[in-house]
Symmetry: C2
Subunit: 204 residues, 2 copies
DNA sequence: GTCTATAATGGGATAGAC
DNA sequence: GTCTATCCCATTATAGAC
């Protein structure tokens, strides 16, 4: 993409129309699901007619593609930095869990779309990267869990597969109820989640 | 429904054609989502043409309605029996958690449909019972949590709302990976989940 | 960058024959 | 209980005017 190919004169707004439309689409996809959001819904919310959307995007799929791909690149960059650090296995996991809650806070729509629609989207070739990154994620987290058991930081009497899924699910499912700007900050939620996860909820 | 209105001669099979078709629909709805499953998909899987489905059911919505309503009635009957028992608050919760994992095992498709599509379905009047039962569920479980904190069975330094959601989510999200007949039985999964939940995953 | 107009497809549902 | 035939509508996407 050359500088010349990126027009930014006329209207002036630094975040162009394209980004606005993408943000509107993201919110609708997250709220109602990808298939249940029509291009007319998106156009209505943007105050234009559906045909006009195609001046900015190839297709509805292109919109969700751009949203998910951009978000996932950022998130994995954070994970990779943590993985490369010199923390203990458990501390790396804790750090990644905090990154994940931050992602739920800062990229709420994208996480919700991923949670709700990635199975469906993965049936199309262009979204082959979704299952690929899922595998990378699983290898990373599961590997850290095994290291943390080996190093004595975690209990060794639990099924590691099950703990992995417990960990993964408890983090990401929070997108269904967490609302940015609510009573608890993402960091506070992460603290309590980690406390429950590590120490349990029973007393004594 | 009089006995005369329930034909069961000819083919003989005790579970009628209607139940077969319902089971086929349940599996497809669970796998691909309600909106992403066409009546033609269902008919194809049953080896008939789409029009023929309408001899048995009013509409696609009627099918999913019957599936969810029947399942939820059974489940809540179990919860109510537990609530009426003389167990401690925490023991009641444990029992309900075990009931829930059994439901994931025995009514896998219905739970998956509920998890994936109830938000969408709830936008229709006929599914008003979904949010209603959600509220009942929440009152029940949240109430037991508060009682268990008051009785000293559970930690009192955690946000009860957050613990409630943690509890609810960790149970039901298991439907995304649990497969009936797999390596771990539903009872074994429930044991490990409760162990993690109550005691945490950290060592020492 | 948006509108008008419209093509093309897919999907839910119906009526009556067999 | 299933098939044939078909209707009707919603939805994605396109072409060209403004």
């Amino acid at each position: 993409m050359s500088a010349a190919s990126t027009p930014r004169a006329s209207t002036g707004s630094a975040t162009g129309r394209r980004e606005q439309l993408l943000a509107i689409a993201a919110q609708l996809f997250a709220e109602k699901g990808f298939r249940n959001t029509t291009v007319r819904d998106i156009a209505d919310a943007a105050g234009i007619l559906s045909g006009s959307l195609y001046h900015h995007f190839d297709s509805k799929e292109s919109m969700v593609d751009e949203l998910l791909d951009t978000f996932q690149r950022e998130l994995f960059a954070e994970y990779d930095a943590t993985a490369a650090s010199d923390l203990t296995p458990l501390a790396k996991l804790e750090s990644m869990i905090r990154s994940s809650f931050r992602a739920i806070d800062e990229h709420h729509s994208e996480v919700a779309i991923f949670q709700n629609d990635s199975t469906y989207l993965a049936t199309f070739d262009r979204f082959a990267y979704l299952p690929e990154r899922n595998e990378r994620f699983e290898k990373l987290w599961r590997g850290l869990l095994q290291e943390a058991v080996a190093s004595g930081e975690l209990r060794d009497d639990l099924d590691v597969d099950l703990v992995y899924r417990f960990l993964r699910d408890t983090v990401w499912v929070a997108v269904t109820w967490y609302r940015p700007g609510g009573a608890l900050s993402a960091a506070q939620v992460a603290d309590q989640y980690l406390s429950i996860l590590l120490k349990g909820i029973s007393r004594g």
